[in-house]
């Protein structure tokens, strides 16, 4: 019957609207469901997983030694030309010439955090750091030299 259908339509519609309102009403009254993270305030407790890819860094030990041999495997692996390894030749005490890294230049502004350089590194000299707040006022600051000044290669890394 027309009138019955008409009224059924209306009651069905109102019922569906009320179920929706019950759902939002539930969240309105249950504040423990709130999931907002108050980001700059929770910096102390904010812990990113150790695999998070924030930027490429070079590990140095206490005596300012890194593990980079300057083999440029990372430079070749990088799809964007983010890494430039400038090499030099060290003279070892025995008088032999040895290739070593002079400047490990890393362009953060070009980096897509694809992790291919880390995979390519044969000596685990570079790794991904968990820092993610990279904004600076001058883009030149994003070009970084990863090996610390005065650092040299760790003993025994070939």
């Amino acid at each position: 019957m027309f009138l019955v259908d008409y009224l059924k339509d209306i009651t069905g519609a109102i019922k569906s609207l009320l179920t929706g309102m019950r759902r939002t009403g539930y969240y309105f009254t249950h504040h423990k469901e709130i999931i907002t993270q108050q980001y700059p305030d929770n910096r102390d407790t904010l812990k990113l997983p150790e695999r998070f890819r924030g930027e490429v860094v070079m590990s140095h030990n206490e005596s300012n030694e890194h593990r980079c041999t300057g083999c440029t495997a990372c430079e070749l692996a990088c799809p964007n030309g983010t890494i430039k390894v400038v090499t030099k030749f060290d003279i070892s005490p025995e008088g032999k010439k040895k290739k070593a890294v002079d400047k490990f230049i890393y362009h953060l502004e070009l980096c897509t955090m694809c992790n291919l350089c880390i995979e390519a590194c044969p000596t685990d000299a570079i790794r991904m750091a968990q820092s993610f707040e990279h904004s600076v006022y001058d883009r030149a600051e994003l070009t970084k030299v990863l090996n610390k000044p005065g650092s040299k290669i760790e003993e025994g890394v070939e």
């Binding site: 309105f28 709130i34 907002t36």
Partner: protein, 358 residues
């Protein structure tokens, strides 16, 4: 006991003593005007904050909590931001109408303040055709929107304005019919009479089912008339970016924004007055003791409590429902609300004639 009517009476008395009756009424008009503007500003601030908090909690967010204690000053900061922003007028816009439109929208909202009783004996103008005045003036607000949409020289704005025109003209009917049902029950167009008639219980309870239906229709029509979701087709941001106020910026935009919220307040205040007894406390028939306890709560708190409850209801709608399409919106009005409203008013008339209401 302290009440708003006493304060207003004192001021009236003092002014009449100082200035004589002619100048006193001029001074009172100025004071009332300033009060309305002040109320506008406060309502805007409070309602924007309320909307943001309500939406945030429904959306499992915290909402504004940075500016001031618990974010209470957030809307003040927003207003400041809008004040110092540049108000752009687009090239090719009809400059006069473009700049006039927000003020028309504001003034229409402001005029509606007049017959609203904020507390016992606290009313700007208790005109004897109060309800008629409300229905008449509330249709003016569409002019501001149409003006804005037309003068912006923007196709989104025009579409939004046209939608708004169709929408408000249609929903006026249902809103009018549901208001009329209370007028039928009361037998008076005067706002104070309508409130007084609810001395022994609010109309929504006294008028049986017909009054309840009228209330539901009124709330739906009120949501539509104020262009709020799910009827926010005039500004439908996922379709028309911002509808009729796409081209507005700075303070002119803020005026539209304010007018929207004030309109929400006013329709809710009207709804509260007609169906929930306005400032009248919750009375049940002849339970003298109970009624007396209820009277201890000041009448202004009753009024604002009811109004904000309705505002919350409208916000609840907004943050739950999807938007209707323009043809469905008109379908809803002409195929559902209007026939139901018409049948309902017959029922109300029968109830009123037979005296079946309490």
């Amino acid at each position: 006991m302290w009440s708003l009517s006493k304060i207003s009476g004192l001021i009236d008395h003092w002014l009449n003593g100082k200035l004589g009756s002619g100048w006193a009424s001029v001074a009172e008009m100025v004071i009332v005007g300033l009060c309305v503007i002040g109320l506008f500003a406060i309502l805007g601030l409070v309602l924007v904050l309320m909307e943001r908090k309500v939406s945030a909690w429904m959306q499992i967010r915290l909402g504004p909590n940075r500016v001031g204690p618990k974010g209470l000053l957030q809307s003040l900061a927003d207003t400041l931001k809008l004040l110092v922003k540049e108000g752009l007028t687009p090239d090719g816009a009809d400059k006069f109408l473009f700049n006039l439109a927000p003020f028309v929208a504001m003034i229409a909202a402001m005029l509606l303040m007049a017959p609203i009783a904020f507390a016992k004996d606290f009313q700007i103008w208790d005109v004897n055709i109060g309800v008629l005045y409300i229905t008449a003036i509330s249709s003016i607000s569409v002019i501001g929107i149409l003006m804005a949409g037309w003068s912006s020289n923007n196709k989104y704005s025009l579409l939004g304005a046209m939608r708004s025109g169709a929408q408000i003209v249609s929903y006026e009917l249902s809103a009018g019919l549901s208001i009329l049902s209370i007028v039928v029950l009361t037998g008076s167009l005067k706002v104070s009479d309508i409130i007084a008639a609810q001395q022994n219980g609010w109309w929504i309870f006294k008028g049986h089912v017909p009054a309840l239906i009228a209330f539901v229709i009124f709330i739906i029509a009120a949501t539509a008339e104020t262009n709020r979701a799910p009827f926010d087709l005039a500004e439908a941001e996922s379709e028309l970016t911002a509808g009729f106020h796409t081209e507005y910026s700075g303070m002119k935009f803020a005026l539209f924004f304010l007018a929207e919220y004030v309109n929400v307040f006013i329709v809710c205040a009207i709804g509260a007055t007609l169906f929930l007894g306005g400032w009248m406390p919750f009375h049940i028939g002849s339970w003298e003791g109970f009624n007396h306890i209820m009277d201890y709560i000041p009448s202004s708190i009753w009024f604002f409590g009811k109004t904000f409850f309705l505002i919350f209801l409208i916000m609840w709608f907004r943050w739950t429902f999807p938007r209707l399409r323009i043809d469905q919106l008109l379908n809803l009005e002409w195929k559902y609300l209007l026939p139901i409203g018409m049948v309902n008013i017959i029922l109300v008339t029968i109830v009123a004639i037979k005296g079946w209401h309490f």
